[in-house]
């Protein structure tokens, strides 16, 4: 099942539409040239970031600038990791926080989305459309408009500067519910009939049959949820105050804006902030790109 949904979606996206322009091999040259120029422009900031992270502060600001570091200094990474300045936690702490928060929110939103997605896709119950419309309506309101009230709510729950504040509001996502409702509604109803003959109720059917068969959708949700949590800045910036509670992006933002931060150490920190997500993306890029393409096509 999983593989059929993939083969239905993928080849078209991967291979592109036409072969009409490529009859003559020389016609491909301008295409490759344009793509290469674009590719270099996109990659240059990353290349520059990595190269600068190995330079000394002096060389990073030297004029005329050097391209490759004259001596490769690995020490910037160790120094940035320990975080010089008024931050006792250091990046190790930020990483632990972020991995914990991202895992918890991702796991939570998968569970709530599978449950709710299944309910909307396959169960007939009183008030289904009303509840669904209410959820739909919340999608129209931008996160910015909820920033202030959510902050006040978190404060009045005495969750300010705790993990609860960083995790609980993200344990359910309307996007996730829609995504899994979509995935689950494609499952044939005969499966449910067969499951009932085997004596399964809704819960057992959901756990044993629906969840395994919806794995592609769950994986897409997991990737996007994890990515969003890993990269989020605004909410954790607002609800944390102590250094030990800060996730990665907030810690990095303080390091960036602090006067006297060394450029080469900053680039080292940017590199190790980006690296894990980049690896994740390269490993699972099919899921990422397919997810985006699918969301786009629906619009």
């Amino acid at each position: 099942m999983a593989s059929t949904t993939q083969t239905r979606q993928l080849p078209a996206i991967r291979t592109g539409t036409t072969t009409r322009h490529t009859r003559h091999p020389l016609r491909a040259v301008p295409v490759y040239s344009a793509l290469t120029v674009g590719g270099i422009l996109v990659a240059l900031p990353f290349i520059w970031m990595v190269l600068t992270s190995f330079k000394t502060q002096f060389e990073a600001l030297a004029y005329p600038p050097t391209f490759l570091p004259s001596v490769w200094h690995l020490s910037n990474y160790a120094d940035a990791w320990k975080l010089p300045g008024p931050w006792p936690g250091g990046f190790a702490r930020y990483f632990v926080n972020t991995i914990f928060i991202a895992s918890a929110t991702t796991a939570g939103s998968i569970i709530t989305s599978v449950l709710a997605g299944y309910t909307f896709a396959k169960m007939e119950f009183f008030g289904r459309n009303v509840v669904f419309m209410c959820l739909l309506a919340t999608l129209m309101v931008p996160f910015e408009a909820m920033l202030v009230p959510d902050f006040v709510i978190v404060k009045s729950l005495h969750w300010y500067d705790t993990y609860q504040a960083l995790i609980v509001p993200w344990l359910a996502s309307v996007f996730g519910i829609f995504l899994l409702r979509q995935t689950i509604s494609t499952l044939p109803n005969e499966l449910w009939d067969a499951a009932q003959l085997d004596g399964l109720g809704h819960a057992g059917y959901l756990y044993r049959v629906v969840a395994p068969l919806s794995l592609p959708g769950i994986l897409t949700l997991a990737l996007f949820g994890f990515l969003e949590s890993w990269n989020s800045l605004l909410w954790p910036l607002i609800v944390t105050s102590s250094d030990t509670m800060r996730p990665l992006q907030v810690g990095l933002s303080f390091f960036i804006t602090e006067n006297g931060t060394q450029i080469s150490q900053l680039m080292a920190a940017a590199t190790f902030t980006i690296a894990p997500i980049l690896v994740l993306f390269l490993v699972a890029q099919r899921q990422f790109i397919e997810g985006i393409a699918r969301a786009g096509l629906k619009g």
């Binding site: 592109g16 299944y118 007939e124 909820m146 009230p149 006040v152 992006q249 990095l252 997500i277 786009g296």
Partner: protein, 334 residues
């Protein structure tokens, strides 16, 4: 009917059957709400209740704790606030600088990538990478690149030109471009600050990969037979694009347009990191103003009103796009 007939006991008569079916329906309903409970509790509190609560807060002089009831005073004050006017103009400039260029670049990239050439998948991956990296880290890199003593300035100096102040430059780009020719434009025609322009460059770099992937998906959805027919009719490449690809791609373009405009009105991270709203407030967009008012000055009521106005603007813009452009889309693709 989702209820499988096999499980309705056959021994019961039709009357008993329907009552047992009704009992099953209500049992299913109870179970459904049990399944929905975790998601609904979180969404009800942090989304649904929050929207109403946001409006409630916006009616008060709410500084950390609730103060005097102001009715709609916050809204009337904002509409006359010069900071808000400047932020609105800045936000519109930011959208104008980023959205069209992103879309054009992405369309070109998607058209190139959609040709069935060997190895293009590598380019697609490459173009998409900025979008998955953290905006904070990416903005840190661009902030350093655009330093007055940074890489771009070094390149400028190497080319023999006096280097501008980039992210520290509050003057408008039209003013700066016209300056060497001795032309001083009137104040209203200064244009967005160079600092905002630099942020726009970063934002285009960041978002083009997303647009490209969506365009690619739209291109693949166009039936191949149409291209074969066009080729048989002897259409040139330009004609194929003008009369086939472009109109059929319209729904995708429209989707990207709506998403991009909304995104540009909500942009926060890269601006917060690259300039923090400076220099001289020339990169303070409405989203940044909401943050500053609420979490730097503690004016929660005022910020909440501001957020509602931002929401209204986004909603209005989306509706306008649906009416004006959306009609064109239906006409072109229908």
């Amino acid at each position: 009917m989702a209820i499988a007939p096999v499980l309705v006991p056959t021994a019961l008569g039709s009357r008993g059957g329907s009552s047992s079916r009704r009992r099953r329906y209500w049992r299913t309903t109870a179970l459904a709400y049990l399944f929905l409970l975790p998601a609904v509790v979180v969404i009800a509190v942090f989304h649904f209740f929050a929207i109403g609560f946001a409006f409630y807060i916006s009616l008060f002089n709410w500084k950390v704790i609730r103060g005097a009831f102001l009715a709609l005073t916050n809204y009337t004050v904002i509409l006359q606030d010069s900071d808000f006017h400047q932020a609105l103009v800045t936000t519109i400039w930011y959208a104008v600088l980023t959205v069209p260029i992103s879309i054009i670049l992405a369309l070109v990239a998607a058209l190139l990538l959609s040709r069935n050439l060997r190895g293009v998948a590598v380019y697609r991956t490459l173009f998409f990478i900025p979008y998955v990296t953290s905006t904070v880290a990416a903005a840190a890199v661009w902030r350093v690149i655009f330093r007055p003593d940074g890489a771009i300035s070094g390149f400028w100096k190497w080319a023999g030109a006096p280097s501008p102040q980039w992210l520290n430059e509050p003057r408008g780009i039209f003013q700066l471009v016209l300056q060497p020719f001795g032309i001083v434009p009137p104040a209203w025609a200064d244009g967005p600050s160079l600092a905002l322009f630099c942020i726009a460059v970063m934002s285009i770099w960041y978002s083009q990969g997303f647009d490209t992937v969506v365009f690619l998906a739209g291109l693949t959805a166009i039936p191949k037979e149409l291209y074969e027919a066009a080729r048989l009719d002897g259409a040139s490449e330009g004609q194929v694009f003008r009369y086939l690809t472009w109109p059929l791609l319209m729904p995708t373009t429209f989707f990207i347009l709506v998403i991009s405009v909304i995104g540009s009105f909500k942009a926060f991270n890269q601006i917060y990191i690259m300039t923090g709203g400076g220099p001289a407030g020339t990169t303070t967009t409405v989203a940044l103003l909401v943050y500053n008012q609420a979490f730097r000055y503690g004016h929660l009521g005022y910020a909440s009103s501001l957020a509602f106005i931002l929401f209204a603007i986004i909603l209005g813009l989306t509706l306008v796009q649906f009416r004006v452009v959306g009609r064109g889309v239906r006409a072109a693709s229908g």
